[in-house]
């Protein structure tokens, strides 16, 4: 169930009285309903499921996860395992 992927909000508009937005998924732009994420701002990432944005991605939490993993990699490098740092797409 519940295929939902993160995309970036490009613009907000009204359609039939509903708050809608165009969301960019690496170049493919899809329309989604934003009624459930009233706080969202253009440029933020959101999770879209079946045409509805369900949550604004918490970039701070994501960053904390990345940092924790960087520590994992640093520790591994100290042990001589030799992992490269993650390459993160912009």
């Amino acid at each position: 169930m519940c295929l939902a992927v993160p995309g970036k909000l490009l613009e907000v508009f009204d359609e039939n009285g509903l708050k809608m937005g165009n969301i960019d998924f690496a170049g493919s732009v899809s329309k989604a309903c934003l009624e459930y994420v009233p706080e969202i701002e253009v440029g933020q990432y959101t999770i879209v499921h079946a045409g509805f944005a369900l949550s604004v991605l918490n970039e701070k939490e994501a960053q904390e996860t990345f940092d924790a993993w960087d520590e994992v990699i640093d520790a591994a490098n100290k042990d001589g395992i030799g992992l490269e740092k993650l390459e993160r797409p912009d």
Binding site: M1, C2, L3, V5, G7, N22, D24, F25, A26, G27, S28, V29, S30, K31, V48, H49, A50, G51
Partner: protein, 349 residues
């Protein structure tokens, strides 16, 4: 084809703006349509004779012969249309035998009411694709059906060419150790068509990869005639083609994840719609199976052709798990890449 092209070739002036049933009745209107729409674009000495059949020279050798019918909806999609698709599709099917595609027939089923402007645009696009591939359209037919009996237009193309001596390319030739080369990114065509369909609310940069591959096949044959198998992974995608190879040759195929190229925007659309690019149609890609000793030179030759710039070795043929295509994932697990049961649909789970 881009629109500006057709602006330089204005729609010929006909007595009607749209296709009438009478255009298929074999009378004056039929002749007018053929003379003004088709003949100026598909011109060659064979077609111009307007006989009931094309009579062609036989240069000798084995004939490669293929037919395909095109019913794509929408008829115009980013990167192409039903016209160039109909040419390239059959050119590619013939070329995958190692043959030089030479001649094509084109049969049209037109829906009553189809604007001539639309038909003209498609015919121009066919002309361009045929010129690029270097083939001649030597026979044709048009029928007009009642509104609703077909969707705008359907095109059948049949093509043939001659297979040079010493070439034996077949899905039954795979041997353990052979390398599998893919000529470029996956899923461009299928996702371009899907994301341009009404209802999905998509604005996509995804473009179809429709292209004639016969010149790249020539480049490949110049490296070696010892190509074991060659196929263009159209409907059903790479997964289906490789499963057909594995079943026909009774060998296993081992792919490596992370090596199969997919463009970013195509992947974005696939992720959102829950579609696996391995199963999506391509119209300008080929997959080649070659002996390991020539794999690198073959790859380089493909990469030198603009249509193969992103060519890459994606895996190899193995004695293990005969009949099964497996994809080694980054974690070390092996995922089976099976045939699909039906068409790929946007899904939510």
């Amino acid at each position: 084809m881009d629109f500006p092209e057709s602006l330089s070739c204005p729609v010929p002036i006909l007595s009607h703006d749209t296709v009438q049933l009478a255009h298929g009745a074999g009378g004056k209107l039929s002749n007018e349509m053929i003379d003004k729409i088709f003949l100026p674009r598909f011109t060659n000495t064979t077609l111009e004779k307007m006989e009931d059949q094309a009579i062609l020279e036989n240069p000798g050798g084995r004939i490669a012969f293929s037919t395909d019918t095109f019913v794509v909806d929408p008829i115009f999609f980013p990167g192409g249309d039903i016209g160039d698709l109909a040419i390239n599709g059959t050119v590619n099917d013939v070329a995958m035998s190692g043959a030089q595609p030479l001649y094509l027939s084109a049969g049209f089923i037109l829906e009553e009411g189809l604007p001539f402007e639309t038909l003209h645009r498609i015919v121009l696009s066919m002309e361009k694709a045929a010129n690029i591939a270097g083939i001649q359209i030597v026979a044709g037919d048009t029928k007009v059906v009642n509104r609703g009996s077909c969707d705008k237009l359907f095109i059948n193309t049949t093509g043939f060419g001659f297979v040079p001596d010493g070439i034996n390319i077949s899905a039954s030739n795979l041997k353990a150790g052979d390398k599998i080369i893919l000529s470029g990114t996956l899923a461009d065509h299928g996702m371009a068509v899907m994301t341009s369909r009404e209802g999905l609310s998509f604005q996509s940069t995804v473009k179809s990869d429709t292209a004639g591959l016969n010149h790249m096949v020539n480049d490949m044959l110049a490296v070696s005639h010892d190509i074991h198998a060659l196929r263009d992974p159209t409907r059903g995608g790479l997964a289906t083609t490789l499963n057909e190879f594995a079943a026909t040759s009774n060998v296993g195929i081992q792919l490596e994840d992370g090596k199969i190229p997919v463009k970013d925007d195509v992947r974005g659309a696939c992720e959102l719609l829950g579609i696996d690019p391995l199963y999506v149609a391509n119209e300008g890609k080929l997959v080649a199976v070659v002996p390991p000793e020539i794999a690198d030179t073959m790859l380089a030759a493909m990469q030198n052709n603009p249509l193969g710039a992103n060519a890459v070795i994606i895996g190899e043929v193995t004695d293990n798990h005969p009949g099964v295509v497996a994809l080694r994932m980054g974690l070390g697990g092996n995922r089976i890449v099976d045939m699909t049961v039906g068409e790929q649909l946007p899904r939510i789970c």
